[in-house]
C-alpha cells in the first residue's frame, strides 16, 4: 500500500522510480512502434486490445517510422528525428493505433440561417 504523509500532498510527487523511461534511441523507438501497432502488417486490427499476440513485424523500421510520422503530421523522413521522438514521448492511450481511418470527416450540416437565437455555451 502506498502511504502519503504530508498534509500539503507534496509527497504525492511521484518518485523517479515510477517515471516512464523516455524513448530516446532506436531500440526504444522500435519497441514503441511495435507496441502500438506501427510495425505490424496492416491487417484488420481491433479498436481496443485483444488478448492474442500482434502480427510480428513484417515491415522495415523506416517504413514503420514513416507511417507514424504521417499519422502524426510530422515530416515523413523515415528517420528517428527529434520531432518524432517528442511525439513518441507524449502521454498517450495504451491501445494500439489501428490503420489510420480515412481523413474525410462527416461534415456538419448547414444550420438554419435565422439570425434570431439565444445560444448559451457552457454545460450548466
Amino acid at each position: 500500500e502506498v502511504l502519503f504523509h504530508s498534509r500539503d500532498r507534496s509527497d504525492l510527487e511521484l518518485s523517479p522510480l515510477h517515471q516512464a523511461r523516455p524513448i530516446a534511441d532506436l531500440q526504444a523507438a522500435q519497441r514503441f512502434l511495435s507496441r502500438y501497432g506501427w510495425s505490424a502488417v496492416s491487417s484488420a486490427r481491433s479498436p481496443n486490445l485483444k488478448r492474442t499476440t500482434e502480427a510480428t513485424a513484417g515491415i522495415t523500421l523506416a517504413e514503420a517510422i514513416r507511417r507514424f510520422q504521417k499519422a502524426n503530421a510530422l515530416p515523413v523522413s523515415g528517420k528517428l528525428d527529434t520531432a518524432t521522438l517528442v511525439a513518441m514521448n507524449k502521454p498517450r492511450c495504451g491501445v494500439p493505433d489501428t490503420q489510420v481511418p480515412p481523413q474525410a470527416s462527416s461534415s456538419t450540416p448547414p444550420a438554419p440561417s435565422t439570425r434570431l437565437g439565444l445560444q448559451p455555451r457552457a454545460r450548466p
Binding site: P22, A87, R92, G94, V95, T98, P101, P112, G117
Partner: protein, 425 residues
C-alpha cells in the same frame, strides 16, 4: 474468472465490423452497466470523485447515443459490462504492464476492462493541471464501445493526450462515428416549442430572442439550432429548469403573442397553468384572484381534454388544439371555437402526398422560428406544414398542406436520453 470471460463472450457482446474505419460495435443491448472495481481505486482522488467522474464520462456518451449507462455495485463482476480500475506497473492481472508516470496513461480491453496508470497525475475536470481523468475515461470508453484511434484535431479518440481545451465535448464527427455503430437517438416528444424572450440591446432597442425546447417524460433539452445539437449537459429534469408546472408528461404549450398580449400556457389533463417569463415561474393566480392551475373548459370553452397538443398561429390569432383525429381552431379575441370547427385533421391539414399523413394523435405541433414553419411530430417522424414561402414557390400546394413525413433525428440531431440515475448531475 478472466479465463472464462475470454472463452464465453457475454451474450450481449457483438462483433459487428463496420467498413474501413476499424470501428466495431461491441454491445447489442441499450443499457450497459459499469463499476469502478473495489480493489483498484486510485490513490490520488477520493472514491466519490472517481465514481462521479466516470459517471459523467459515461453520461457524455449517453448524451449522443441511444445507449444508457448505469453504475452497478451489486451484480457479480462477470455480469458487469464495463469495469474500470487503477493500477501501477503490473496490475489487475493485466498482460500489458504500465510504464510509470509519462507516456502510456491507460488502456481498454475488448471485453470491457479499462485500466488507468495510477502513476499518472490524474486530476478532476475542475483542475487544469495533470491529466484530466474525465477526458481519459471518455477516450477509453470510446474504445470499449468500439471506436479506434482517430487522427483528427478535435476528436476525443486521438491517441495522444491533448491538454485541456476550452470546451471538452464530443464534437460532430465523433458523434457520427459512434452513431455509425449504435444508430442515432429517436423517440417521441411530449411537447416542442420555441420560448420567446424580449431583451434590450446596448442601444435600448428591443431584441426578440428564441430558444428551442424539447420535453419528454420528466426531462427536457434546450436545442441549439445553429450548432445542430442540444445544449451540452442536457437533458435535465423539468423540475430543475421550470417552476410550478407539471414535472412530467405535459400535453401542450401555447404562447399567445400579439401586440398587446403575451400569455404562455402549459396544458396537462383537464388543467392549464400560465407561466410568467420574467419571474420564470408559473403564476399562482389569475387577474381575478383565482388560483392556478385552472380548468381548461373554463378558459377555453368547447376545447376537449386531455389534449394531444396545440399551437398558436400568430397571423390568424388562432390557437389550434388537437385531440385524436380532430382539430379545433380557437379565436383568442372572441374566446370561442370557430364555427367551422372542429375539423378532421386530414381536412384542416391535407396530405400533399396521398395517405402520407399522421391522421390522428400527433405528439406535438411545433412552430419553429429557426425554420419559419410548423411541424407535426408523431413518434420518430415529422410532417412540415406548407408555409407562405412554400406557397409562393409552388402555388398549387394546398394551404396548410403536409409535406411527406421525414425523420425527426435527421433534422434535430442527437436529442438523446440518459439513464434516469444520471439525470441530475
Amino acid at each position: 474468472k478472466r479465463f472464462l470471460q475470454m472463452l464465453l463472450p457475454r451474450l450481449n457482446r457483438q462483433q459487428e465490423d463496420s467498413s474501413d474505419s476499424g470501428a466495431t460495435r461491441a454491445f447489442s443491448k441499450k443499457t450497459l452497466t459499469w463499476r469502478l472495481v473495489g480493489e483498484a481505486y486510485s490513490s490520488q482522488l477520493s472514491v466519490d470523485e472517481q465514481r462521479y467522474i466516470f459517471k459523467l464520462a459515461f453520461r457524455m456518451w449517453s448524451e449522443v447515443t441511444p445507449l444508457n449507462f448505469q453504475e452497478d455495485l451489486i451484480a457479480p463482476g462477470a455480469m458487469v459490462d464495463i469495469k474500470l480500475g487503477f493500477g501501477r506497473g503490473r496490475h489487475l492481472g493485466c498482460t500489458r504492464v504500465f510504464d510509470g508516470s509519462g507516456q502510456e496513461f491507460a488502456h481498454a480491453w475488448r471485453l470491457g476492462d479499462i485500466h488507468f496508470d495510477d502513476d499518472e497525475h490524474f486530476t478532476p475536470p475542475t483542475s487544469d493541471m495533470g491529466i484530466s481523468l474525465l477526458k481519459v475515461a471518455v477516450h477509453e470508453i470510446g474504445h470499449v464501445l468500439g471506436l479506434p484511434h482517430i487522427y483528427r484535431t478535435g476528436s476525443i479518440m486521438q491517441p495522444n493526450y491533448i491538454p485541456q481545451e476550452p470546451t471538452f465535448e464530443l464534437d460532430w464527427s465523433d458523434r457520427k462515428a459512434i452513431q455509425k455503430l449504435y444508430g442515432s437517438c429517436e423517440g417521441s416528444f411530449d411537447i416542442a416549442f420555441d420560448w420567446i424572450r424580449k431583451e434590450r440591446n446596448q442601444y435600448g432597442e428591443v431584441m426578440v430572442r428564441f430558444s428551442t425546447y424539447f420535453f419528454r417524460n420528466s426531462w427536457y433539452w434546450l436545442y441549439e439550432n445553429r450548432n445542430n445539437r442540444t445544449r451540452y449537459g442536457d437533458p435535465i429534469q423539468i423540475l430543475t429548469g421550470w417552476h410550478g408546472i407539471p414535472t412530467q408528461n405535459i400535453d401542450a404549450f401555447v404562447h399567445i403573442w400579439t401586440g398587446r398580449r403575451d400569455e404562455r400556457y402549459f396544458f396537462k389533463g383537464n388543467q392549464y397553468w400560465r407561466y410568467d417569463s420574467d419571474k420564470d415561474q408559473a403564476l399562482l393566480e389569475d387577474d381575478q384572484g383565482r388560483s392556478y392551475p385552472r380548468l381548461i373548459s373554463e378558459r377555453f370553452p368547447g376545447i376537449p381534454c386531455p389534449l394531444d397538443t396545440a399551437f398558436y398561429d400568430r397571423r390568424q390569432q388562432l390557437i389550434y388544439f388537437f385531440k385524436e383525429s380532430f382539430v379545433f381552431a380557437f379565436d383568442v379575441n372572441r374566446n370561442q371555437v370557430l364555427n367551422s370547427f372542429p375539423k378532421k385533421l386530414t381536412e384542416a391539414f391535407p396530405a400533399i402526398t396521398p395517405r402520407n399523413h399522421p391522421f390522428r394523435n400527433i405528439d406535438s405541433a411545433y412552430y419553429s422560428y429557426a425554420h419559419n414553419s410548423i411541424f407535426f411530430f408523431k413518434g420518430n417522424a415529422y410532417w412540415k406544414v406548407v408555409n407562405e414561402k412554400d406557397k409562393q414557390q409552388n402555388s398549387w400546394l394546398p394551404s396548410n398542406g403536409l409535406f411527406p413525413k421525414k425523420n425527426i433525428s435527421r433534422k434535430w440531431f442527437d436529442v438523446c436520453d440518459v439513464h434516469i440515475s444520471t439525470l441530475n448531475m
